[in-house]
C-alpha cells in the first residue's frame, strides 16, 4: 500500500534541498577540440587563443593559397600548429570530437572544403565561426557563407573574438 505524500516525487526531487544531493563526480571525459584558422587574419586570433589555458584544444593553421579540389594533394604536413610544426590533416582530426573553423568574413576560405570533407569522412562535428570586422560588406559575408555553409553543421557570426574563448570554455575545451 502506498503511503500518502503531500508532495509528489517531482516536487521533492526538483527542490533546492534535493539539488544538493546531485552526485559530485565528473560526468564526462575530456574531449578533443581542434581549432583551425582558415585565413591569415584568423591565424592571429588562433595564436592569441592558444595562449589561454585550454587543456583539450589544439590550435592549427592552414597554408595560404588556393586548394584545388580536382587535383589530389597530400594531406601530410598540410596543417600547421602555432609553434610552426607541420601536421597531417587526417591524423590530426582522427579521434577529435569537434573541429571549429575560424574565418574572417571576406578572406579566402578555400581550406574549408578540405577540412569539411575530411571531417565528413571521419563523421566529426564541424562548427564554423565567422568574425565580422566593422567594415565587412554583405557581399564579403555572402562569399564566406557560400564557402562555409556546405561544411559546417553549426555556424556563428560574431562581432568580437572574445566570444571564441567563451565558447571554448563552455564546451570544456
Amino acid at each position: 500500500m502506498h503511503r500518502f505524500e503531500a508532495r509528489s516525487e517531482s516536487a521533492r526531487a526538483a527542490s533546492a534541498a534535493e539539488a544538493r544531493f546531485r552526485i559530485d563526480a565528473p560526468n564526462s571525459r575530456p574531449r578533443a577540440i581542434k581549432i583551425v584558422a582558415l585565413d591569415r587574419q584568423s591565424e592571429g586570433v588562433v595564436n592569441r587563443l592558444a595562449e589561454g589555458a585550454f587543456a583539450n584544444a589544439t590550435f592549427l593553421t592552414v597554408p595560404a593559397g588556393a586548394v584545388s579540389s580536382r587535383e589530389p594533394f597530400s594531406m601530410t604536413g598540410w596543417l600547421g600548429d602555432v609553434a610552426g610544426h607541420t601536421k597531417d590533416l587526417l591524423e590530426e582530426i582522427d579521434g577529435a570530437d569537434q573541429v571549429v573553423m575560424i574565418a574572417t568574413a571576406g578572406e579566402p576560405l578555400h581550406a574549408a572544403s578540405v577540412i569539411g570533407e575530411a571531417c565528413s569522412l571521419k563523421r566529426i562535428m564541424t562548427t564554423a565561426l565567422i568574425l565580422t570586422p566593422p567594415s565587412t560588406s554583405d557581399e564579403a559575408l555572402s562569399r564566406s557563407l557560400a564557402q562555409l555553409r556546405p561544411w559546417s553543421l553549426m555556424l556563428v557570426i560574431a562581432s568580437d573574438e572574445d566570444y571564441i574563448a567563451d565558447m571554448l570554455v563552455a564546451m570544456r575545451a
Partner: protein, 428 residues
Amino acid sequence: MLKKEQNDLLTQTGPGTPGGRLFRSYWLPALLANELPENDCPPVRVKLLSERLIAFRDSKGRYGLMDEYCAHRGVSLWFGRNEEDGLRCPYHGWKYDYTGQCIEVPSEPEESGFCKKIKLNSYPLVERGGVLWTYMGPPEKRPPLPEWEFATVPPEHSFTSKRIQESNWLQAMEGGIDSSHVSFLHRGDLNSDPLFKGAKANQYNLRDSRPVFEVVESAGGLFIGARRNADNGNYYWRITQWVMPSFTMIAPRGNHPVHGHFWIPIDDENCWTWSFDYHPMRALTAEERRAMEEGKGIHVKYVPGTFRPLANKDNDYLIDRAAQKAGKTYSGVEGIAMQDASLQESMGPIVDRTKENLVSTDNGIIMARHRLLRATKALMDKEVAPPGVEPVHQQVRSAAVVLPPDKPFVEAAKDALMVRAGVAHASV
C-alpha cells in the same frame, strides 16, 4: 559550462546584484491589466526581482506599485482598504497614495506633517497592450516605454497570458533559444496543436529533421536561424529573435498568430513566464482565442484562481506514460508549454551549470550568456545602457522564410525581421 561565479552573476537578480541591475534597466511586464480591473479594486501582491510589492489602482484609475509592507509595523498592505485615492493599512489606518507617499497617519496631528516624512519605495506602473509594465531602476535612467509589437497592435489582435515557473529565469529563457529541442520534445504537437497545425512549413520540418543552425548577433540580442532544405536548392529558415535580457519570439507557421515569451524573475528560484500570441494584420479568430484560453499552443491550463499551471510539479505534471509510449507525446507531458517547463523545473531551482556538457548546437545559449555577461560588465563598470533598452531593439519580428543558399539570412530577410506597419509577418 559556466564557472560558478558566472552562473551566480546571471541567475541572481535581487537588489544590489549585477544581474539585478541589468534587469532594472528595462521596462518589465509586472501584471496583466485585468488583474486590476477597475478603480478601487482589491490590491494584488507582486514579487519581482526578489522584491515584495503591492499593486493597486486608485479611485482615479492611477496604478501604483510599491513596497508591500506598511512603514509603521510591517503589515502587508494586501489587507489594505483601497479607497479615496489611496491604500489604507487596516491596522492603524496609515494611508498611501499611488506613488507610495504616506498621506495620512491618523494617530498624529495633521498639522505635524509627520506623514510627509513617510514614503514607501515605489515604481511606475503603466498599462500597454493589456499588460502593466514597471521599471525598477534609477528614475534618471528610465528608458522610453516598451514598443514590443504585441503590445502595440489593437487589443483584438493579441492574447497574453502568464504562468508561474518554479525555476530560475535563465534556464527557462535558455529553453526559448534552444531550437534543437523542438524536433524531440515537441514533435507530437506540430501537426495536432490547433495553433501550429496545417502550415506548409511543418512539411519542411518533418522532411528534414536535422536542421543546421546559425547564430548571428543583433543590435538587441541574437538571431537564431534554423536552416532546412526547401525546394529548388533553396533553404527554409526559421529565425528566432532573442532580445536582451529575456524576450524571445519564435518563428511563425502559416497564417497562425506569431508568438513569444518574456521570462521575468520573481526571485532567484521562480520566474514568470509571459506568453503572447498576436497577428499584426487581423483580429484573432474566436477559435484561436478559445484555444489560447484553453491552454493550447504556448499557453497553459491553470489551477483555478491562480497562475499556477494545472500540470505542475506537485502532480508530476500529470505525466501520461501510455501517451509517451504510444508516441502521442514525446515526454508524456501534454502541451508545449508544460513540456518545456516540466523539464526546466526538473533541473532544480537553479541549475548547476558547472556540471553541464554543452555541444555545438548550444551556441545560441553560449552566445546569449556571453552577451548578458558582457552587457552586465559594461553596465557595472561604465554605466553603459544594455542592448534591448531602446525601442528600436524591440521593434522586431521572428520570421519563417525561403531564401537562396548563399545569402546571409539577416540581410536577405532584413525587412521580415523588423516591425512594418500594415505588413504581415513573413511566414511559410
